[in-house]
């Protein structure tokens, strides 16, 4: 079958599956809509969390980023997995015991304040919208390249699918769709990785192939890569180029931010027990780790393939995939020295993103209106193609390419749905039911949640059709804000009984204002890298914001009144898994006695 037919078939089948699941698992009550009735098995919840968490950025972009960064790419690998250790041990079990629906619920009750709830709701909505805009762009890219439809049509199809299962099914529908999406996504990621690992190293397990020798030589993959890189003037792949302090701060901000992201936290409200909440975190990381340990291997293989294929190659003799990706604007070539061959070296070949004019050059390449830079690099490569084009670069069969298309869509749609649900919950539950209109019935609240989800999908779709230019720069925001606002407030709420309303609000506000100002100054007001404090980039500043939050919270809480007894009792209760919050002394011989 033609590759194109296969792509339509795979994507169509996967969409039919998601819709089928959505119809089967419609939500009938708010509890089902918000937390899937609180009855999700830990393995299913782990898969759903993994799909929720691994977005278009993890599936499409991450291996590419690592491919271009080398060792420093580890900050994403560790940052986006290490947060689960914090979640499993410091947040998930206690929030599950608390047993409400949302993160603002916890903040509001623990800090006995509607103001705290409103601050939390604003953060939730901002963080989630930032994130969802990126997902819609991912959907658009996959559609435009693989299905040869207009990006806008692609975004609208994606919106329609998410609409059906998020609005109908709520958390219940989303959970079971995400389980299916995880399976599609991980299969789509592993198949090309295994093929490529076999081709380059002869070892079918990418994690091992990564450390093996290149087939037919006695040189290891990493030595080969270091050799190719230095030959062309790039830094050694296994060396870092960012400063240690910056890598430290970014990794910490990503870890803590992960643990503080509302759409991840809310998944742990869906398990039946505290014990299952802990287990879910373990399974979630297990399912995530399958992709995250494969990604750096894919990154190195793809880098070798790319350098081998394009460097000093004549444009006219390049394989078809080059022209395909050039047509979709993710690759571009400017023949600076008019030799008809591609010279690939460090540095930007052109100023800004390629903007093509309607003409072809001497060798048949698409011409650009950008001004050329004066270095000797002629090739523009968008990092996203390292995963998307990998099967074509490695010459894999058509069905693998179709699988990658379906997988990329699964990754983007699953995350988008989780985020949209969090947004709609914040509006119907936190703003309406708990704040503005406490008198509404369960049915009315459910309707409000569905309407809010529908509106949020509409806005997210608009963001995908008219992508705001700042999307890429504001992703730092989502993690920085989660790290500097929610994480300290929740952590102190559980582990420090004395923490009170005044301390928590003061901490959240200073943490937020500090982090937001730093990011806005450097991302939007033209701040330059040599003005960074202690050499910390805006991506890593959430770590400092978190420390400021902790400090301010501690100082303010000690000069103001202790929290009311009822709140302190609540903290005691959430620390004990048992429903009644009672513990009993261990019996001398280690046996336990039932009370």
């Amino acid at each position: 079958m033609e590759t194109q037919t296969l792509i339509f078939l795979f994507v169509g089948l996967s969409f039919a599956l998601y819709i089928g699941i959505a119809i089967w698992s419609r939500a009938g009550t708010t509890k089902e809509y918000y937390v899937a009735g609180g009855g999700v098995h830990p393995v299913a919840n782990g898969m759903a969390t993994a799909a929720d968490w691994m977005s278009a950025a993890s599936f499409i972009s991450m291996a590419g980023i690592i491919s271009f960064m080398g060792r420093d790419g580890a900050m994403y690998l560790m940052g986006w997995t290490g947060g689960y250790v914090l979640l499993a041990m410091c947040l998930a079990p206690y929030l599950r015991k608390f047993g409400q629906f949302t993160v603002p619920d916890f903040v509001a009750e623990r800090y006995y304040s509607q103001l705290a709830r409103v601050v939390a709701v604003i953060c939730v909505i901002f963080i989630s919208f930032t994130y969802v805009a990126g997902q819609m762009r991912g959907v658009g890219i996959v559609f435009s390249r693989y299905l040869e439809v207009d990006i806008n049509v692609g975004v609208m199809i994606g919106m329609g699918i998410v609409f059906i299962y998020a609005v109908l099914g709520g958390m219940k529908g989303i959970t079971y769709t995400q389980v299916a999406q995880y399976c599609v996504m991980i299969f789509a990621y592993l198949v090309p990785a295994i093929f490529i690992s076999m081709m380059i190293t002869g070892n079918p397990i990418p994690q091992l192939g990564f450390g093996s020798t290149v087939e037919g030589t006695d040189m290891s993959v990493l030595e080969k890569l270091n050799g190719l890189s230095t030959e062309l003037g790039f830094a050694q792949y296994t060396d870092g180029s960012k400063s240690t302090i910056d890598v430290f701060f970014i990794t910490m901000a990503l870890m803590v931010g992960t643990a503080g992201l509302p759409h991840v936290i809310v998944r742990f409200f869906t398990t039946p027990t505290v014990r299952d909440a802990r287990k879910s975190a373990g399974y979630a990381l297990l399912f995530i780790a399958v992709l995250y340990t494969t990604a750096p291997a894919v990154a190195s293989f793809a880098r070798i393939n790319l350098l081998n294929t394009v460097s000093e190659a004549e444009y006219e003799n390049l394989p078809d995939w080059f022209a395909n990706w050039e047509n979709s604007g993710l690759m571009a070539w400017v023949d600076k020295n008019d030799d008809g061959k591609i010279q690939y070296h460090p540095g930007k070949p052109i100023d800004g993103k390629p903007s093509f004019i309607d003409a072809r050059g001497q060798s048949g390449e698409r011409l650009l209106s950008n001004s050329q830079t004066d270095n000797n690099n002629e090739l523009y490569v968008d990092r996203d193609i390292m995963v998307l084009a990998n099967p074509e670069i490695a010459n894999l069969p058509g069905w693998v390419i179709a699988l990658v298309a379906a997988g990329g869509l699964a990754a983007a749609l699953s995350t988008a749905a989780g985020l949209l649900l969090v947004i709609s919950t914040s509006i119907s539950h936190d703003l309406l039911k708990r704040n503005l209109m406490p008198g509404i019935t369960d049915k009315q609240e459910l309707l409000a949640a569905r309407l809010a989800a529908a509106a949020a999908i509409g806005i997210a779709g608009l963001a995908g059709i008219y992508p705001p230019g700042f999307v890429a720069s504001v992703v730092a925001f989502a993690f920085g804000l989660a790290a500097s606002s929610f994480f300290p407030a929740i952590l102190l709420g559980i582990f420090y009984k004395r923490m009170n309303r005044e301390g928590a609000i003061a901490g959240m506000v200073t943490g937020l204002v500090f982090t937001a100002s730093y990011i806005i100054y450097f991302k939007f007001l033209g701040g330059t890298a040599d003005e960074w404090w202690f050499g910390v980039s805006p991506e890593g500043i959430g770590t400092l914001g978190m420390l400021i939050n902790f400090t301010v919270s501690m100082v303010v809480c000690h000069v103001t009144e202790a929290p009311p007894q009822a709140v302190q009792d609540m903290v005691d209760n959430i620390r004990i898994p048992r429903k009644d919050g009672q513990a009993s002394d261990p019996v001398a011989n280690g046996e336990t006695a039932r009370v």
Partner: protein, 88 residues
């Protein structure tokens, strides 16, 4: 009641001890081996990788995974010890 309170406090102390010891490993592997001492560790080779690089791109993730499952096991045991597990 006060017995219960004392038992709850003891349970919480043991919980914190487990938590802190596991978080020390979490920090040592990710921020220690993979970031602060990565260049030093790179002089050793491990299954074809420079050791620091391996920790940064592979080993740290395996360690995180092991830590969570060890935590689950230890906490289930601790819950039973203080009889705070949830009724089935």
């Amino acid at each position: 009641m006060s017995d219960n309170k004392r038992a709850a406090a003891a349970y919480w102390r043991e919980n914190i001890r487990i938590l802190l010891s596991l978080l020390v490993i979490w920090f040592a592997v990710s921020f220690g081996a993979s970031i602060l001492f990565v260049d030093y560790l790179d002089q050793f080779t491990f299954f074809g990788f420079p050791l620091g690089f391996w920790f940064a791109q592979q080993g740290s993730i395996y360690t995180f995974l092991a830590l969570i499952f060890v935590y689950i096991g230890m906490m289930n045991k601790l819950d039973r010890k203080y009889n705070v597990q949830e009724e089935e």
